[in-house]
């Protein structure tokens, strides 16, 4: 058993060594993807183009405008005398938000009568709009006492204390998901071609005539890529820590264990696809789609699973990245031990075992 697995594994490594382009792609792709997506993907919104319509023209109104600009989130993109022209500026995307201060703002405020600032938003990108709105609310709330010239405390206050990611930086939240996404795609692609390549070259027919068993062939084909995947995963984790300030608060050992389990599942899924597909092209496309879409959409990477419709939540329970991301966030961000994430690790192990079993069954039939 071990001899045959070894024979296949050595052969795969030798072939990978000869095919150095693929080897470099497998090792380097995760790192390059992490850099590209890591810098591009962020929910943090800055440099918001603000149109200012100050109809009040008082020191109080100027104080409000300054508060927006000093926050660091907004830049003044236009200064207008009336509200109507903002339409055109929104349409041309010259501004993303407009702050309108009514003419009676200062007098009403001075009299401590309720008054409003009008805040107009481009809602076409709802995600960005809601982020901008929350910034605006915070700024207005913080500026109110100063503008009114009074100190006041509301009797009830929710004093925030944010753990694990005190600055609420989206990168800290996104990078674990990004790692899962990249490792899933690259591991599935790595093995998706492994079996179908032999079919295309005709060597499969000869292999089938040897006494080699399905499980020996599959393990022999998976293990070398587990090695390659581990190296590139280690590189990607390092980059995430070095470039994107992903803290590693938990144990490196458990991080390695969970990552290996996840990689094994991805490689197993890839090899299962390889036993289904009849050509390398089909295998590649199937591998790409089946790894990318669920990991992107159904893993909690970007869209929280808890806010999905029930049906999607159920489907998401067979997406291994879901468990990996949860475990990764626990280990890396929270630094908690296995007692907190053993269920996720178990789910990953079960997924890996199931796909390898499915691939073996498929293989036995065609072997």
């Amino acid at each position: 058993m071990i001899r045959r697995v070894l024979a296949v594994a050595i052969k795969e490594l030798l072939q990978l060594k000869r095919d150095w382009r693929t080897a470099i792609a497998l090792l380097g792709m995760p790192l390059v993807l992490l850099m590209i997506y890591g810098y591009a993907l962020s929910f943090d919104v800055t440099d918001i183009r603000l149109g200012v319509v100050d109809l009040s023209r008082t020191s109080a109104s100027r104080r409000v405008v300054e508060a927006f600009l000093e926050s660091g989130f907004f830049v003044r993109a236009a200064t207008l005398d009336e509200v109507r022209p903002t339409d055109a500026l929104f349409a041309s995307e010259a501004i993303q938000a407009a702050l309108v201060i009514p003419a009676d703002f200062a007098s009403e405020a001075a009299a401590l009568r309720p008054t409003s600032l009008l805040f107009i938003l481009d809602g076409a990108d709802s995600q960005t709009a809601s982020t901008i709105l929350s910034y605006a609310r915070q700024i207005v709330a913080a500026t109110t006492p100063e503008v009114l010239g009074i100190e006041f405390r509301s009797p009830l206050e929710a004093a925030p204390l944010v753990w694990y990611n005190p600055d609420l930086k989206s990168s800290i939240f996104l990078v674990p998901g990004l790692l899962a996404f990249i490792l899933m795609v690259s591991s599935v692609i790595a093995t998706a071609l492994a079996v179908v390549r032999e079919k295309e070259r005709g060597t499969m027919e000869s292999l089938r005539a040897t006494p080699i068993r399905a499980i020996e062939l599959l393990l022999g084909k998976t293990l070398p890529y587990l090695l390659v995947g581990s190296v590139s995963a280690a590189g990607a984790l390092f980059l995430a820590w070095a470039l994107f300030e992903m803290p590693v608060r938990g144990s490196i050992f458990w991080l390695a264990v969970v990552t290996l389990l996840f990689l094994a599942g991805g490689l197993g899924w890839g090899i299962f696809i390889s036993t289904l597909a009849e050509s390398q092209q089909v295998a590649f496309q199937l591998g790409l789609l089946s790894s990318m879409l669920p990991t992107l959409l159904l893993s909690g990477f970007i869209f929280p699973i808890s806010s999905m419709p029930r049906a999607l939540q159920i489907i998401s329970s067979i997406v291994p990245a879901r468990y990996f991301i949860a475990a990764l966030r626990s280990i890396v961000l929270k630094g908690v031990g296995p007692d907190m994430w053993w269920q996720q690790a178990a789910a990953l192990a079960i997924f890996g075992a199931l796909v390898l079993l499915a691939a073996t069954v498929r293989m036995v039939r065609s072997l």
């Binding site: 001899r3 045959r4 070894l6 024979a7 296949v8 050595i10 052969k11 030798l14 072939q15 000869r18 095919d19 070259r201 005709g202 060597t203 027919e205 000869s206 292999l207 089938r208 005539a209 040897t210 006494p211 080699i212």
Partner: protein, 324 residues
Amino acid sequence: MSGATAEGRHPAREIVVSASELTRTFGDFVAVDHVSFEVARGEIFGFLGSNGAGKTTTIRMLCGLLRPTSGKGTVDGFDIATESAAIKTRIGYMSQKFSLYTDLTVDENLRFWAGTYRVWGREFERRRDWALAVTGLETRRQALVADLPGGFRQRLALSCALLHEPPVVFLDEPTGGVDPEARRDFWDLIDDLSEGGVTIFVTTHSMDEAERCHRVALMHAGKLLALDTIPRLKAVFPEGSVLELECADAARAVEELENLSEVVDAALFGDRLRAVVESPEAAATIERSLVAAGFGPVTVNPVAPSLEDVFIRFIHEAEEAESS
């Protein structure tokens, strides 16, 4: 239908491969149709037929790669339908498609294929040295297979299938795309193996190669048409019934020839004509007819029938039997 040559060499005729009413269908298509034969130890058994005749399907059933639809078969005493795992350890198989890894070296290929048969250590070194010797690749062990000429690849593929010293070897059109010299070297190797007691089951559509087999099975449209030694197969033609003719304007003369009632079959080979006739007496009649038709001067010589003549004859007979 017994193998005189093989029997002569191996007095105790031991059956290593057998098929009995072996049949395989794919949907409505009958690829192999109730085929029966026996192959003795050390025999070179040729399976001759055109593409699609069912040769590869038969070989794949015998190797345990394809389940028969009906019928039985054994290889080295094991049932092909139920004991394919045992069979796989006892056979070498060289498929029609090229079975080496071209991106690996000679050594690496040998090591890998040996590994799949659990041949390692001292045993592997011994077999590797044997393989390198018979392939003539001793000095090119580190060469990539992609850089080897076709003839070397073919012999390397064969020796990879023999590393575990199987008693039976199945070769499916082993010499496709190989130059004649390399083909001869390949067949010399097969002769050596046969003398060493290895049973060789080989499919081919080359008549030259079939001539080198001890016994030949003629396969057509899934059916076994004939099975015997080459001399016996050729004996279906009585002495003097295959003629070679030289005459003027042979290309037109072949049509004239086909219209003669004495002629069963006529064909053009370069500037010569070949005709199969009912009886030796027809030679004189043919000569007269061709001269009369203006194709003179005409010379007619009786020749030995080729295996192709035999093959075509059996196909014609089978097709006539079918249509009547």
